[in-house]
């Protein structure tokens, strides 16, 4: 269910590595828990991310959640489609719902993330 080629963190975010850059988004579990996304507050290209620190916010009708950086790096691209259609995150959290693309600052951080299987077990244990 959760794509096998992605890495996941405990804040329910995923990372898709492409060379020395990575796309970041939230998992299907996260979007389901959140409900219909109405607003996403993302950084801008050029901003620095520090692993473990917040880089933005995601809001549904009933809640606001912080977005935590799964890896460190510099933002190179932000998904502009989310401005007018944040609900894309609900419809396609792993594809069109990607949020930011970063140039990885420390690729070794990826080792600390979970595989799809590990993430699935993690979600089950949290329930």
């Amino acid at each position: 269910m959760n794509p096998a080629d992605l890495r996941y963190d405990k804040e329910h975010e995923w990372v898709r590595v492409e060379g020395d850059t990575a796309f970041i988004g939230i998992s299907d579990f996260a979007q389901d828990q959140l409900g219909e996304v109405v607003y996403v507050d993302l950084p801008s290209a050029g901003d620095e991310l520090v692993a473990g620190e917040t880089f933005g916010e995601i809001e549904s009708v009933k809640s606001v959640s912080e977005l935590y950086a799964p890896v460190s790096g510099t933002v190179v691209e932000v998904n502009d489609d989310l401005d007018g259609s944040p609900e894309v995150i609900n419809a396609d959290p792993y594809g069109a719902g990607w949020m930011i693309k970063v140039a990885l600052g420390d690729p070794s951080e990826l080792d600390g993330l979970m595989s799809a299987d590990e993430y699935e077990a993690f979600v089950a244990s949290e329930a």
């Binding site: 409900g35 219909e36 109405v38 809001e59 606001v64």
Partner: protein
């Protein structure tokens, strides 16, 4: 330690429908099923049903019931002299503080049905029974009474088919039999801004009524989340958030339910003083073009905090933020631009006279 939560007669129905349950007013209630926005839109375009069995129902009976209730509520119950009529009102204490907002239905000769907020049931029972004279019978019927709201542009045709007859006129209540067998009262009232009814039934028939309503394709089950976005779009206040015992109806935008021409009622003196001096703060609507305002967020004017958001949400119909807030009376003029502070940013918020949404099945 928290007390165990109560369950309405529809609890199992909610689970079967995949409802996400949350605590509310001491009950386990569904906040959503398919999703708040989807449910909200279903009510505005078709029909939705809401479990409101947790709400309080009181029966007041006796020769002095009318006079006694007239003293307890701010609105004039002569408006419901006609059998079957209903009126929305607040009930205040001696300081003019709002104990609860409720609807009084003239259900029979010498008899009234009062439907009040679930969260205030105990306070209402205590207050009303201690302020009603001996000869007036007061019965808390809540536990054996079910209440289901059916709201939306298709609601009336659905209840007509289910009951075999037209429902009563707006703000009236009448007996009906659903599916030819379930005796209920249908009240043409609601909290969504759409036409529809609130069905009062015996608690042990609530599940049957719920399923009958769901048998219509046009009907969607809707939770507390959608209930809140729907009522806020109309500017309908929520006790506990938009007003409470520390607020009076004149400050809360409810001067229209205060009747000065009737005889004395509890709180009248205090309200007269507030009216004479003018409220110092007023509950206003706020419209934002960006950002989602939420309860507790500071409201600013030129960088200075002047108030706090009472109710706030993302309006599914308008697709932007809407809110209510108490602000100094001098800033309450529609069109005044204020700001709402949200964690790292502030967003402009324009004072708006509700309703935020027009063109519902109830309005032109």
């Amino acid at each position: 330690m928290s007390e165990a939560l109560s369950r309405t007669p529809l609890y199992e129905e909610h689970l079967a429908l995949g409802g996400r349950m949350v605590p509310f007013a001491g009950y386990e209630m569904p906040v959503q099923y398919a999703g708040i926005i989807e449910e909200h839109r279903a009510v505005r375009s078709s029909a939705g049903i809401f479990d409101v069995c947790h709400m309080a129902e009181f029966r007041v009976f006796g020769f002095e019931a009318f006079d006694a209730l007239q003293k307890l509520v701010t609105n004039d119950l002569h408006k419901i002299d006609e059998l079957g009529k209903a009126v929305y009102t607040v009930m205040c204490d001696e300081t003019g503080g709002i104990i609860d907002d409720l609807i009084v239905y003239h259900t029979g000769d010498l008899e009234y049905l009062v439907i009040a907020n679930a969260a205030n049931r105990d306070v209402d029972v205590e207050w009303m029974s201690s302020h009603l004279p001996e000869g007036v019978e007061f019965v808390d019927e809540s536990d054996r009474t079910g209440l289901i709201a059916l709201q939306g542009p298709k609601a009336i045709e659905i209840i007509t088919e289910l009951s075999g007859e037209e429902p009563p006129a707006r703000f009236h209540i009448a007996e009906a039999h659903l599916d030819g067998r379930i005796p209920v009262l249908t009240a043409r009232t609601g909290y969504t801004g759409e036409d529809g009814v609130e069905i009062v039934c015996a608690a042990d028939t609530a599940a049957a009524v719920w399923r009958l309503l769901l048998s219509f394709d046009e009907v969607s089950p809707c939770g507390l989340g959608a209930r809140d976005t729907l009522r806020l779009e109309m500017g309908y206040p929520l006790h506990g958030t938009d007003m409470d015992r520390t607020r009076d109806p004149l400050s809360a935008g409810l001067s229209w339910v205060v009747s000065w021409k009737k005889d004395d009622f509890i709180g009248r003196g205090a309200l007269e003083a507030i009216k004479a001096a003018g409220p110092t703060e007023r509950l206003v609507g706020l419209t934002l073009s960006d950002g989602v305002p939420r309860h507790g967020y500071p409201v600013l004017r030129e960088g200075v905090e002047v108030g706090t958001v009472a109710s706030g949400t993302f309006s599914p119909t308008l697709e932007h933020g809407i809110a209510t807030a108490y602000v100094p009376a001098g800033l309450a003029e529609p069109g005044t631009v204020l700001q709402v502070s949200m964690r790292r940013k502030t967003f402009d918020a324009t004072v708006t006279k509700p309703p935020f949404v027009g063109h519902t099945s109830l309005s032109a």
